[in-house]
């Protein structure tokens, strides 16, 4: 929900040099952002740390579950809007999307990663 990306400017990290004058206070805006929380006003610390430009850790290359950008989006059966891949709901009309896999032959719900339908044995594509 941030209005612009700060990472390219290295501002997505907390300053590491604060002391009690920072941690014993609520922050500049007090309760203004409490409970909702994007809180962009207070998260914009410009980190001056030496290691900001170090190489990325190894696990940052291994990303799972991420929808493929060019994957076909689903079209909502209710309002015909495009639904982003992976969303449980149409973001226009709120229509629920059935994202659980099912057998195209008998309609039986399939467990995650199933290669065959447990009910009728049909191969899952």
């Amino acid at each position: 929900m941030s209005s612009f990306s700060r990472s390219s400017r290295g501002r997505n990290y907390k300053s590491g040099n604060h002391g009690s004058s920072h941690y014993k206070k609520k922050g500049l805006f007090g309760d203004l952002f409490e409970g909702f929380g994007s809180g962009s006003g207070r998260r914009n610390h410009n980190n001056q740390n030496v290691y900001e430009t170090q190489n990325l850790p190894r696990n940052q290359q291994a990303v799972t579950n991420q929808p493929i950008n060019n994957q076909n989006t689903i079209v909502c059966s209710s309002c015909n809007s495009q639904i982003p891949t992976g969303s449980k709901f149409c973001l226009q009309c709120g229509q629920k999307v059935n994202i659980s896999p099912f057998c195209t032959n008998c309609g039986e719900k399939l467990p995650p990663g199933a290669k065959f339908c447990l009910s009728c044995g049909t191969k899952v594509n």
Partner: protein, 238 residues
């Protein structure tokens, strides 16, 4: 401002939910506590129209990421509402007070045991997110709920699928900052200590300080959340 919003929305029925109270507001919208017809408590996160249009593409991330995650330690996305000028998400209500409320309203002083418990549980949540490719980017004291030993992480408005632009170590930095708030709950500040950084003021072991410095990138950071977890459990166990 709060009073105006309260008058406008509290008691009003939106879709199948009745708004009970205003929880909070930010730059992007307003959060309400509401209940469904079958009396289930939910949170309605209403987006401000201008901000929603401006960030339409980015707003999808929260919905898609929450749709993909299924864990009792984070709120579920229960629905999307778009009616009568009200656009928002329906989110599972989670019990507990935020760490910010505990610190600054209840003036709670966190014991070493509590810090270990909260820290290890929060790292467990971050581990779940990172293993699913998600970086939260907003692990702050108002976004962590604590309820009788249970820890919940909320507000996925800034969450993204991790990549070179959104590396996982963003969350380490926020975790380090979060933990320092807990440590400072028992710190009595004096006028003379005002300008000193945490690693001078706090009574921590050298290893504990190094751990926090690595999270905050004052020293080369950790490779993975699994490493962060292993070191935290070793250094802070009471």
């Amino acid at each position: 401002m709060f009073a105006k919003i309260k008058t406008k929305y509290v008691g009003k029925k939106i879709s199948s939910y009745t708004i009970d109270t205003l929880i909070g507001q930010g730059r992007y919208g307003i959060c309400f506590l509401a209940h469904s017809d079958d009396n289930q408590k939910v949170v309605l996160k209403k987006f401000k129209t201008k901000m929603f249009i401006k960030n339409a593409k980015k707003n999808e991330f929260e919905a898609v990421i929450l749709s993909q995650l299924q864990d009792k330690r984070i709120p579920q996305l229960l629905g999307v509402i778009n009616e009568k000028g009200f656009y928002g998400f329906v989110l599972e209500f989670k019990y507990g007070l935020t760490i910010k409320e505990l610190l600054f309203k209840k003036h709670h002083k966190f014991s070493d045991k509590e810090i270990y418990e909260i820290g290890s549980k929060l790292i467990g949540i971050i581990k779940y997110l990172h293993h699913n490719g998600v970086v939260h980017r907003d692990i702050r004291i108002p976004n962590v709920l604590y309820d009788h030993g249970d820890v919940t992480l909320v507000d996925f408005g800034l969450a993204r699928w991790s990549n070179n632009q959104y590396p996982f170590d963003m969350d380490y930095s926020y975790l380090g900052d979060f933990l320092l708030y807990l440590f400072y709950s028992t710190f009595e500040s004096t006028k003379r200590s005002k300008k000193k950084p945490w690693y001078v003021e706090l009574d921590l072991t050298d290893d504990q300080k190094q751990f926090l410095k690595k999270l905050l990138r004052l020293e080369p950071t950790y490779d993975s959340i699994d490493d962060v977890e292993a070191i935290f459990l070793k250094l802070f166990k009471c």
